[in-house]
Symmetry: C2
Subunit: 249 residues, 2 copies
Amino acid sequence: MNARFYAPDAHAPGDVLALPDDEARHLTRVLRLKAGDAVRVFNGRGGEFEATIDGAGRDGVEVRLGAVREAAREARVALSLAQAVLKGDKMDDVVRDAVMIGVAAIQPVVTTRTEVTCSALKKGSRVGRWHRVAISSAKQCGRAVVPAIREPLTLETLLRVIASERSSGSTLMLVEPGVASRTIALGDLDPAPPPEATLMIGPEGGWTPEEIQAAAGSCRMLTLGGRTIRADAMAAVAISALFARWGEF
Amino acid sequence: MNARFYAPDAHAPGDVLALPDDEARHLTRVLRLKAGDAVRVFNGRGGEFEATIDGAGRDGVEVRLGAVREAAREARVALSLAQAVLKGDKMDDVVRDAVMIGVAAIQPVVTTRTEVTCSALKKGSRVGRWHRVAISSAKQCGRAVVPAIREPLTLETLLRVIASERSSGSTLMLVEPGVASRTIALGDLDPAPPPEATLMIGPEGGWTPEEIQAAAGSCRMLTLGGRTIRADAMAAVAISALFARWGEF
């Protein structure tokens, strides 16, 4: 398959448009493609097109859209990953993997045991960075959708939003066995996929007992087997398990 | 929980034994534990014990085993991961994740598109390295079993072994949609876990058409959704999905 590029302005066959700067650099400097070469362009909202490079130089890259193409199928369940922000670059890996496996959106969460604050994340432009990671992952995995990276929220705020917006059945908080009074296993979930769901995953140190108690009113407490999964691998394992349960594989 | 150490010679409460050198170094230099401190010791074959450090110094560490303890539960299905050797250090990550999620054994495989040979792997002592990665992962995830890392085999040899030893139902070759004539999805697998199974995962460039054809007689061809999963993340996604299907979560 031809190399794929992200262009949010791509709307319809026949359009001629400039690629974003990052994408233009990738096309010219890394892949060394030139005018006349065939590529694919996706707009991040599900639209994918054949395209031809009209011009490629220091000033940027222009592409001309051709026929609509089919991208990788989106999951039937719109699963949001509410992930407590992890240390260092580990959140990048989680974003990359979650996009690849097929989540619809990622909600970074600041919890008691998270080592950064919402304002530090804002200052560090972390959402922009995670958005670039999401674009890069979408390019590689064949999706024409770039999942939204939402503005970080504290767990407290997120729980308020969940309580006001959603039915309790569709929000799952991943917990270790034995830490919550009422937990369910994967097999307790309805195998028919809900249209939307949110999966909440804690930081390296886990949720505090107070956080679990605060969430118990609006979330179901899900456990996944008896082995301890590393915090930065938990999302991939849990999303894969949920997708398996819901018939996505 | 107290720090856990691997000692293959640990057999029964009351035993006094020396930790292997790597483990002794971890105990003294990284965790800075001393005589009298409480630890846990597991033997890699399912045995786990409370233990007390009898002596810790430059010459090594001696521990005295106490009561038998329960380790993380092992999966009911003994799943072997037959993974094509990946580039660089990526195989280390696959070993680490597969042990953590719960495989019973790992069989490194040399395929047409694998960039190393069995003899180069032998020269580079890669099996010993992967064994150390497996120990380290078992320590972290709470398992008292260290999955065997088998000697690397070519796919051709592995398929001969499979054809002679196993029923065809229990060997799954993971393939991309559309590359094999008869594929099954996860939902086509019996939800009752088989006692043993082998999951074969290809290298970065995938299986060749000839390899898929050669395997078709002894393996079922499994596909996992329509998105392209990175080679080094495939094992974690596929093992999680299989464990979900088989009620391990």
